[in-house]
Structures are given as C-alpha cells and as structure tokens.
C-alpha cells in the first residue's frame, strides 16, 4: 500500500492553528481531569493496600472487626499471645514480634488554635512496635519520651496545618494536654503516615484506660502455613479464651475489608472518568469532522492520483492521534507536576494522590483513544462520496 508521507498529516495540523490549539487544550484538560480522578482512586486504594502487612495478625475485640479504633481488649492479651503463639512468631533474639497498641480517634489542636482537628493517635510499646511495623522508619528527631509524640509525615496535611507548626520541638494539644513533638516518621504509602504515636503507658493514663489496649499486633513467621497460623489464632480466641471476646484478623484482610466501604465512591469516580472521556471524544470528533469536511476535494484528488482510501484514512488517524498524543503528554506532565503526591485529608487519615503507572496508563490510553475515536466517524464520512462528485464539491 502506498502511504501518504508522514509529515503530510502533521503539517495539516498547522494549517488551522487556532482550531488545533483549542482542540489540544480541550483534550489536554480532559486527560488532566482523568489523571487527577484516577490518581485519587489509586491513592486511596494503594494506601489501604499498603497499610496492611500480610505477615501481621491483629488480635482485637470480636465486636469491632470493622472499626479497630473502637476495639478494647485486656492488656493481659499481650503476654498471652507471646506464650500462646511463641513457636509461630518472628523473633529477634529473645524478643517476639508482638506489639500492644492503643488507638484513639480524637480531637487535636495545634499552637494557639482553639478549634481542634480530628486525627488518629496510637500508643505503642517503643521496644517492640518496630519489630511488627516494618514500614515505619524515623526520619527526623527522636523516639518519644514521656509527654512526647512522634508524628507521621502526612500529619500536617491531616491536621490542615503547616509542617513548621508541628515541627520537632513544637507543642500540640491532645485530650486537653500539651504534648511535645519529638520526631517525625515515614511509612510510605500507608495510612500510618497520618497518625501520631506516643508511649502506650502515657496514652493509657491520658485516656483513663489503664488496663486495656485496642489491638495486639503480631508478626507471624512468613515461612509458616498461613492457614494453620490463622487456625491457631482462631482456636485461641474461640476455644481457649472465649471470655476475652477476642477475634484475630490478618491486617491485610482488615484493610481489604475497608475497601468495600469506599466501593461506591470509587464507582462514582470511575463514572466521572467515563463521562469526562465521552465529553473529550465529542470534542475530538468535532475537530476531525471539521478537518475532513473542508477537505473532501483534497481527498478525492489524492484518490485520483492513486492513493488508496486506507492510506488517506491512516493519515487522518495519524493527524488525530498526533494531536491527542501531544495533548496527553502535556497533560501528564502537568498532572505529575501539580497533582502527584498532593496530600488529601480523609476520614481517619490522609493519603497522597498517586499519578502512578496505572493512572498514567489509564490517562494516556484514554487520551490516545480519544484521538482514534475522534478520527473514525469523519474518516467514514470522507469516503462515502464517489470521487467524481467529491472533486466537484464546493
């Protein structure tokens, strides 16, 4: 097949620069919108996926399986778990990876602000928590002492304050009592990054909950049989100590269960993506229609000198796809520059917009798809007319 030269289609784009620029701008905005929406969905999904460590099993109250912040269990469970699951737990020397944690969802105020903001704080045993919470690392300052708190990197976004207001050495008010910020931790991509951590005994005293914790987090041997491990946990909760009203859940399963609550929101976001794409396709098709309508004679002449219809159609596709691809690349660059990593405060935490590979793939596929779709109806229309009639067309 004899093809039209590559630059034929590209030069055509420059023949009507205003029209081309407007179409590129429209397509670019559409792809930008898609990338932000997909980035939101990906950010939410990834933060829930990455927050759950598949090796970690949580012992919590049987009635709080869906909201662990509300769980309350006896703190004797920590010692029981250590002995009961001794052979199945990851160990560092003599220390088993078992971490008692008290999680509170409460109101926090920063500096002189009287109006508090909501956030999650977790009381932890600093000697053990890092054996279980492998994602967490200290990036600034020190571990908290009495009356001190360690904050995650997303805490400023969560509290709606600047990073300097909660910098190391600053004071925040929790439960009406001032706490000094001792350091900052990172836990990339997880909801933990929006939390504040302090010594579990401090938090117990503050919350007037001296004898209970929210969960006991245990890290099981990754080489072990996962089904058997959960079987032991279930047996312990149901049969050995039913009086404690315990239940065991894999942390990854818990966060997966939270995903279902966000399913309608994700569905709505995808609906938004679909509708924006339809609007973008209308714009692209419109431009290509106009490009074809004014060139009926030109296409007839090209056919008359021997170019097959497929070659002309291919040139039209090329024109449309080059325009869409250019707009898509510009939109992707803009989204990476402006939206990537932007922290969004959300209930019980915060997460970052993730313009990751999946988001870019969806955005670019949609952008190029709009170019392809935009060219099909006009191409069909262009070749409906017989060559002699098209040559006479005005």
């Amino acid at each position: 097949m004899r093809l039209l030269p590559w630059d034929y289609g590209v030069r055509n784009l420059g023949r009507r620069p205003v029209r081309t620029a407007l179409t590129a701008l429209g397509l670019g905005l559409v792809v930008f919108l898609l990338l932000v929406v997909v980035g939101f969905v990906r950010g939410m999904e990834l933060s829930l996926q990455q927050s759950g460590d598949p090796e970690v099993v949580l012992l919590h109250n049987a009635n709080s399986a869906e909201n662990l912040e509300n769980s309350s269990i006896s703190d004797e469970v920590t010692a029981l778990a250590r002995t009961e699951f001794a052979t199945h737990l990851v160990r560092y020397g003599e220390t088993a990876a078992v971490s008692p944690e008290l999680t509170i969802a409460g109101r926090i105020s920063v500096g002189d602000r009287t109006e508090g903001t909501t956030a999650v704080f977790r009381g932890v045993d600093l000697d053990r928590v890092f054996l279980v919470r492998r994602q967490v690392s200290l990036v600034d300052g020190n571990l908290p002492g009495p009356g001190e708190v360690l904050i995650g990197r997303l805490v400023p976004a969560k509290l709606g304050v600047t990073a300097s207001e909660v910098a190391v050495g600053q004071s925040i008010t929790i439960e009406g009592k001032p706490w000094r910020v001792s350091g900052r931790f990172a836990a990339p991509g997880t909801l933990l990054e929006a939390e504040m951590w302090c010594r579990v005994d401090d938090l117990k005293t503050t919350m007037k909950r001296p004898n209970d914790v929210s969960v006991v987090a245990m890290r099981f041997d990754p080489a072990g049989d996962k089904a058997k491990q959960m079987g032991y946990v279930d047996y312990f909760c149901r049969n050995r100590r039913p009086d404690l009203e315990l239940m065991g859940s894999r942390e990854s399963d818990y966060y997966a269960s939270l995903q279902k609550h966000y399913a309608p929101m994700r569905a709505l976001a995808w609906l938004l993506v679909g509708l924006v794409s339809i609007a973008g396709a209308c714009g692209a098709a419109n431009t290509m229609y106009a490009a074809v309508a004014g060139r009926v004679r030109e296409f007839a002449a090209l056919q008359a000198v021997g170019f097959p219809r497929r070659a002309i159609a291919l040139s039209l596709f090329q024109e449309s796809v080059v325009l869409a691809a250019g707009a898509t690349l510009a939109a992707a660059a803009l989204a990476l520059l402006l939206a990537q990593g932007v922290a969004i405060r959300f209930t019980m935490g915060a997460f970052s917009l993730q313009i990751d590979r999946t988001a870019l793939l969806v955005g670019c596929a949609a952008g190029v798809g709009l170019g392809v779709f935009g060219a099909i109806p006009p191409a069909v229309r262009a070749f409906r007319m017989p060559i002699p009639d098209a040559l006479k067309a005005t």
């Binding site: 407007l22 919108l33 909201n67 509300n70 969802a105 609550h261 509708l275 924006v276 609007a279 959300f346």
Partner: protein, 377 residues
C-alpha cells in the same frame, strides 16, 4: 435581533453533527459540574442552617462510637438554666469513615421524640406504630429510597435488627438520612445508669444564649463527673465532624471548574470552526448591509444557543439523576445531601449562557471585523 433567530437556527441545524457533538459534550460536562456543585450546596446548607440546638458530645472525641456519655447526664444538663429539653441519642453507624452508603441509627426515647421532632411528616406509619414495638424503626425518606425499605419490612444493618414502622420526610437538614430506633434497642440492656448515649441534643429557651448555656453545661459536667463533655451549637458540631471531607469537596470543586474550562474550549472550537467555514457568507451578509456588530451578535447568539442547549440537557440530567437516586456523603454519622436546588438549576443555566458568551466572543468579534473584499476572495 429576534427576527434573525431562524437564520441562527438554520446555521446550527445546518451542521447537525458538529452542533450535536458540542451540545452533547457541553451537557455531559455541565452535568458533572452541577453534580459536584450539589455536594458543595449540601455542605453550605449544613453550615448555613439555623443554630437553635446544642449538641453535647464527649470531649476530644469525634467518631460517634468513641463518645460514650452516661444517660444520667441528661438530668444534670436539664438542670442548667436556659435548657428547655434534653434528648439522649445513641448513634450507631455501619461505617464511621467517608461513605456514600452510610446507615445512621439514632436510638432515642420514643416518648420524647414527637415533642422534639415536630417537623417530621409521615409518608407512612405514625408515632404510635413506632412506640408500640421495641424493635420498631422510623426510616428517613432518603435512606428508605436508597435502600428500598418499606413499612413492615425487617432488616439488619450494623448488627441491629429492626422492623420499619414508618417512613418520614423532614425539612431539617440531614434528618432524612437517619433511622430512629428505641434507645433501649441499641443501648446496653442493663439498668438505667448503665446506659450510654453518644450525644445529648439540647433544645434551648433562647437560642441567642447558646454559647453561655454550652459553657455552663460543660462546667457543670466537669464539676460533677469524670468524663468531660464538649458542647457546641449543632452547626459547629457538624462542621467539626465534616472537617475531614473539606479537602475532598475542595478537590471536586476544582474538578468542576476544569469541566467548565473544557466546555469553554469545546464551544469556542465549534464557533471558531463555524466562523472559519463561513468567511464568505459573512462577507456577503456585510455586502448586503449587515453591520459588523450585527454579524458579531449573530455568531454570539449561535454560540450561546448551543451552550444553553447543552446547559439545559446537563441541568435536567443532573436534577433528574439526583431525584431518581438521592445521594449523601457521610462521615462520622453526619451526612451531606447532594442537593439539586432551584439555585443550582438557575446557576447551571446562567453558567451555560456565560460559557456561550465567553467562548463565542473572540471568534464572533473576528467575524464581525473581517475585511469584506479579502473575505469574498
């Protein structure tokens, strides 16, 4: 100008595919803009509501399940001067986090409820049906429609099993998302002093003194009991609960503005194409005596009509969708309704006209100022 409407109409219909695509694209994008604006409207309705009640919540807590106040606090609160009535409410939600499908139970004393909810209009059932059974539930219209709940039907959500005794409508904000049950059904089935409520709703003798009464309630509770309270006007309580959604709503607002930007580009592109295709036609019109401003206004009318048609379709689709499927965004037991108000409809139509004007102004101005001789060639 009106006598030229048939000419404008002919031009629009003369390029059916182009016009239809522009109208369709505009309709879809305005639908999206109005949809996200309806959330903002719902939030504004909550934040602009009349403040005539106080909410007593456990201090420093925000999720309903984390606030546990003994029901006997009601007696202390009632004794504070300026308090007219106190309603202990046990709130149970199937999900404390942000969700589009949250079910909120308010466990209340069935004898006290009629007096403090005079605005309730029964679509089916009545107060006596609610009071006669301990597992009876009064279901708000919006949640009944969303979940398909009918009177007589029994259902279990969040571990609570109830039978629908009636469905009600209400003009109080967010109330149509609530399911009222008996406090005893979702409280602890022990003695009176074992009961815990999530919050106390306080009616005031004079709402003007709300701040003073709130401070007096908190002071009294601190003086007598260990678990402190935080009393706020209802609006401030809602604003605090919804604070976590403000980022999300702010982001959707920006997305809405980008949608409007795309509409402007879409319509402008269509008008530019129309103007470029009719350079000769406009020159002929000017030769026949049409002035430049007249040509400008004809092009502008075309742009505005296309945009308005898209706006009408998009607005009708948005209102129809929200009527067909009432939606609410909830967190911590407080719901923001997606509100398709009259203002929203007017805003949609005015916006589409403005978009038509903005998008058409430059190409129309160029068409009106074109040189006749060079255009004819």
């Amino acid at each position: 100008m009106l006598k030229f409407l048939p000419y404008v109409r002919k031009n629009i219909l003369g390029h059916r595919v182009r016009s239809a695509m522009t109208v369709a694209g505009t309709a879809v994008l305005l639908f999206l803009f109005l949809f996200v604006t309806s959330v903002q409207n719902g939030l504004d309705r909550i934040l602009d509501a009349r403040d005539d009640k106080l909410i007593v919540f456990q201090a420093y807590r925000f999720c309903p399940s984390s606030s546990q106040l003994p029901v006997f606090y009601a007696d202390t609160i009632q004794a504070v001067p300026g308090v007219k009535a106190v309603l202990p409410v046990k709130v149970v939600v199937n999900n404390c986090r942000a969700s589009l499908d949250t079910v909120v139970f308010h466990g209340v004393d069935p004898k006290l409820l009629p007096a403090v909810r005079p605005n309730v209009r029964f679509l089916s059932g009545d107060w006596s049906a609610f009071q006669s059974r301990t597992d009876a539930a009064l279901v708000g219209r919006r949640i009944a429609e969303r979940r398909g709940l009918q009177p007589g039907q029994s259902f279990t959500i969040a571990g609570i099993t109830v039978q629908v005794a009636g469905v009600f409508a209400s003009d109080a904000i967010g109330e149509e998302n609530v399911i009222y049950t008996h406090l005893t059904l979702i409280g602890n089935p022990g003695s009176h002093h074992d009961f815990h409520a999530t919050l106390f709703e306080v009616q005031l003798d004079d709402p003007q003194h709300a701040t003073d009464v709130a401070a007096a309630i908190d002071a009294k509770i601190r003086e007598k009991y260990e678990v402190p309270t935080e009393t706020k006007p209802q609006k401030a309580h809602y604003a605090g609960a919804l604070a976590d959604l403000l980022d999300l709503i702010g982001m959707t607002r920006w997305l809405g503005f980008v949608c409007v930007g795309v509409v402007v580009v879409l319509v402008a592109n269509s008008v530019v194409m129309s103007a470029q295709d009719r350079v000769k036609e406009h020159a002929v019109l000017q030769t026949l005596g049409f002035s430049g401003p007249r040509v400008f206004s004809l092009m502008l009318a075309e742009s505005c009509l296309i945009s308005l048609a898209g706006g009408l379709l998009g607005t009708a689709a948005c209102v129809g969708f929200l009527e067909w499927r009432p939606m609410s965004l909830s967190t911590e037991g407080v719901s923001i309704d997606f509100v398709a108000s009259g203002t929203l409809v007017v805003a949609g139509l005015v916006l589409s006209l403005v978009v038509g004007f903005v998008a058409g102004a430059v190409p129309a101005w160029q068409a009106g100022r074109a040189e006749i001789v060079s255009s004819l060639r």
